[in-house]
Symmetry: C2
């Protein structure tokens, strides 16, 4: 019996490799936020069509897209989960920190040199959520439910950037289009749990700006900071071009990569 | 004797493959503009560090760089020569054409809807020149000698875009920071030889704008087109962010990829 079992299991081994391992990966993949096991050759840069598309998104050539192109869903998953995304975010954070060092205010200055950081997919990652949704179209109800759980992982390079900006003497304003009334406390809690501390103010979308475009809302926030409070926005960091365009955009802007969704 | 020769040549065959073929490639590579024979896996996107750097360039995060990073010279050569660059340029041209179709003026309009196209590495390619220079620092004397020869290959996707814009009823202005006095006739001849025809005007840098930054010169040209001549700039296409920023930049801008050099 033991011998028979061994023989059978030896026979089944190739089957296990052929079917069970991919199935196991599929199941683990479906589990929220779980990555695949192995990295692709090329660090997420190995599909020519999808690489072209991703670079068009980052250069603001591709606009107004509602979902990741169907043939690029696997590519974007690999890009986000297998290292290239984190390499890219870290490089942007390093560029921003190098620039911040150049323009750092002198010790004992007036305390009005400021940076603006966005929240979603700049400080906090929604990768687990979008991975489960297969990078599909924006679903406000499901997204609110996800955001309410306050379990977005922090993006380590951006946490490092925040601390670097603080240590260089800048004020840091964290600005998000998330609704203040419904997501205010969970967003603050999520930022704290993810290690984001030391920023000056979390500014969220209130009743006054509900329904406005991201560019209009964020421009209004920056206008208030500059015109009414006297800050000089030296840097502005966001994953959407709509964070970085409009009025009072800042002396220099930094685009954090995001091939998962587009906010007009 | 014949048998001996055959035996020797059979023995030498592996040596030929091992040494002669790479040497031949090296020699052909050194010849101006000659590509390598075989494409890399990943279409030029297979070096994680250099891919990060290239995307930072396209997203305008990396600024003011003087040369391609030393470890990315081979990567940039592969990117430019092995297909990914041409895929990327074609995708930008398609985006621009799709947008142009949306905003095309009605038949019998006032003829004042215009596009601006840059010359170097937008319409005409300097890839052969920069490949020989190993993507090194800007060398005004050598570049002028190269440009004077008027042998820059046309970039096919941009030639197609120019024809598409014309067929949609737009005026097209080709604007370049090249010096009019020294490079005027060879630039016009090069554009014609490369198949660029039907544009309305080639506008080059004259004595008035010599020594100005690219942003200042191009803003001045666009101001003239808009304020004095009444054109509406609907689209603006260039390989440098300095083509696409400043005053009167256009309703929408399109960034053509260029990891070879940076113009401030």
């Amino acid at each position: 019996m033991a011998a028979r079992w061994t023989t059978t299991s030896a026979r089944l081994a190739p089957l296990a490799v052929a079917f069970v391992v991919p199935w196991l990966c599929y199941v683990l993949e479906a589990a929220e936020g779980a990555p695949w096991f192995w990295p692709p050759i090329g660090g997420g840069g190995d599909d020519p069509y999808c690489l072209t598309w991703r670079v068009m998104v980052e250069a603001n050539n591709a606009k107004g897209w509602r979902t990741v192109p169907a043939q690029c869903v696997g590519y974007v998953r690999g890009y986000m989960a297998w290292g290239q995304y984190h390499r890219d975010v870290a490089a942007v954070a390093e560029q921003a920190a190098a620039y911040a060092t150049q323009v750092a205010p002198p010790a004992g200055g007036d305390g009005l040199d400021a940076w603006v950081l966005d929240v979603d997919d700049t400080c906090l990652s929604n990768q687990p959520y979008y991975q489960v949704k297969q990078f599909g179209a924006y679903d406000p109800v499901a997204f609110r439910a996800w955001a309410s759980r306050a379990i977005c992982p922090g993006i380590p390079a951006m946490q490092w950037l925040l601390q670097t900006l603080r240590s260089r003497g800048f004020r840091v304003f964290v600005v998000t289009g998330r609704d203040e009334e419904t997501l205010g406390s969970c967003t603050a809690a999520n930022l704290a749990a993810a290690g984001f501390s030391g920023y000056d103010r979390l500014i969220m979308r209130g009743a006054l700006h509900r329904g406005q475009s991201s560019v209009a809302f964020k421009s209004a926030v920056r206008r208030q900071l500059v015109e009414e409070e006297g800050y000089r926005i030296r840097g502005n960091v966001g994953d959407q071009w709509s964070d970085l365009q409009g009025d009072y955009a800042g002396d220099r802007v930094f685009k954090v990569p995001n091939p998962m969704y587009f906010v007009p």
